[in-house]
Amino acid sequence: MRFTKDHEWVALEGDVATIGITAFAAEQLGDVVFVETPEVGKVVKAGDAFAVVESVKAASDVYAPISGEVVEGNTILGDAPETVNADPENGGWFARIKISDPAQYDALMDRPAYEAFLATQ
């Protein structure tokens, strides 16, 4: 699993990346009440806002950590957005992207690097 400074995580299997927000981000947001996942077929560039997560008090963009085409959104989050808080780095995933540039994945932080980054926050 790799991480971004915007507190997204990416897990890569073959050329499909599963993307979500980290436990730190979920804790910072508080209770998630609504999630908008991207539509299947949407082509996103790394750094694009591609999903939205909402708490009681605010809506926050989620940025695509990696470029590619969306192949699946996590439909569970429509009825159970609280899954993002309960299981952020697994069942609370947002979308799956068929990636176009594996080098982007390699450039992201690994867990020790992300944890070191968190310590500076």
């Binding site: 508080g30 009440v33 009681v56 605010a58």
Partner: protein, 379 residues
């Protein structure tokens, strides 16, 4: 979401207490204030609706206006009947500019002492973000008639929720006979307090002004009751929204009149006849002939919560208005919003759309408040 640069921010007498409780601090009205405690906005909100929530609102501006006839002088800047305000009562009103726009909303009252005597002058509480300007406006308009004593050596806290009254009355039994909008000046919590039965959550409760030096002790005394939890500004906002209450700087501003804002109750009948308040021409005309835009309560029936700035459209897709504050209702478990729309669309049941990130989502005009008020009025 990031930590604020706290160096330039003002503190309240309770700032250290919030940090000790694990609060997340943010900038608000020039102060560092708790937006939430470790429980989070959702739990804090629901706790207040079910038990009692304690809020630090010391950033708000407290002042005493004194003079030969402060009540009649005050009527020169607000549309409320303050000459008729009985001792021991407070009243909500709006400070108006010459065009009838709202400079701020406020509470002003005449606290009574235990011996029945009335405190000298008028006790006023205004919004923290507006207070310097408010007192300047009042001073400019009423110079020579009233002197403004800002009570910057006092903290202000609110305790709200169905169990709030029992908590307060256990400490200060003499508050038990107070009803909604009563205000007293009395000994309590081992100090001198100015206490009103009011708040901004729609719940029963009290607002308590205490000397700054006593604030932490009183705060901790209230928190020592297991029915009471500290509540941050995040839940304060979602609670007031569910109660259908406007927030200055969002639902109210210098262009909005009290008629447009649904605050005609604050324009008293005798004042309408006298037409002797700022912007009376516009306001009396609006009362007689109607307004071009009016505040409504919307429930978002499907999709994301509609927040401030979201456009409101009719069913043909024509943009007709805007959301001025909106969010997620923890009680109703869905999106709610205050919005301005043309008056022909204000009827309860009217079907509209809210535009959120390019999607037109169905919304319906509902009665205010979203969640029933539970004020304790005379029985």
């Amino acid at each position: 979401m990031s930590a604020t640069d706290s160096a330039d921010l003002k503190t309240t007498p309770l700032t250290d207490a919030h940090i000790a409780l694990g609060a997340r601090m943010v900038e608000f009205a020039g102060y560092t204030m708790p937006v939430q405690y470790p429980d989070g906005v959702m739990k804090e909100h629901l706790w207040t609706r079910e038990h009692a929530g304690l809020f630090d609102v010391s950033h708000m501006g407290q002042a005493r206006l004194v003079g030969v006839s402060p009540l009649s002088a005050f009527e020169e800047v607000v549309p409320g009947d303050y000459i008729g305000l009985k001792p021991g009562k407070q009243k909500y009103s709006v400070l108006l500019n010459k065009k009838g726009g709202i400079v701020d909303d406020l509470m002003a009252g005449r606290p009574t002492a235990p011996d029945g005597s009335v405190t000298d002058g008028l006790f006023v509480v205004v919004n923290g973000a507006c207070k310097d300007n408010d007192f300047k406006v009042i001073d400019d308009e009423l110079a020579g008639q009233v002197t403004i004593h800002r009570l910057e050596d006092r903290a202000l806290m609110a305790i709200q929720g169905p169990e709030a009254a029992a908590v307060v009355q256990a400490h200060v039994p003499a508050t038990a006979d107070m009803v909604f909008m009563d205000i007293r000046s009395m000994p309590g919590f081992g100090t001198d307090i100015i206490i009103s039965r009011s708040g901004y959550t729609g719940e029963d409760g009290y607002e308590i002004s205490v000397p700054a030096a006593e604030a932490v002790r009183v705060w901790n005394l209230l928190l020592s009751d297991e029915r009471v939890k500290p509540i941050g500004l995040g839940a304060r906002d979602s609670l007031r929204l569910e109660a259908g209450l406007p927030l200055y700087g969002h639902d109210l501003d210098e262009t909005v009149s009290p008629v447009e804002a649904g605050l005609t109750f604050a324009v008293n009948k005798n004042r309408r006849e006298q037409r002797d308040f700022p912007g009376a021409g516009r306001i009396v005309k609006e009362l007689a002939e109607g307004v071009a835009r009016t505040k409504v309560c919307l429930r978002v029936l499907e999709g994301a919560p509609a927040r401030e700035g979201a456009e409101v459209a009719d069913l043909k897709g024509v943009v007709v208005g805007v959301v001025t504050s909106g969010g997620y209702s923890p009680v109703l478990k869905g999106g709610i919003a205050l919005a301005f729309v043309p008056p022909e669309l204000k009827a309860v049941g009217a079907q509209l759309k809210v535009l959120v990130r390019g999607k037109a989502q169905p919304a319906e005009v509902v009665a205010s408040p979203f969640v029933p008020h539970r004020y304790v009025r005379k029985g």
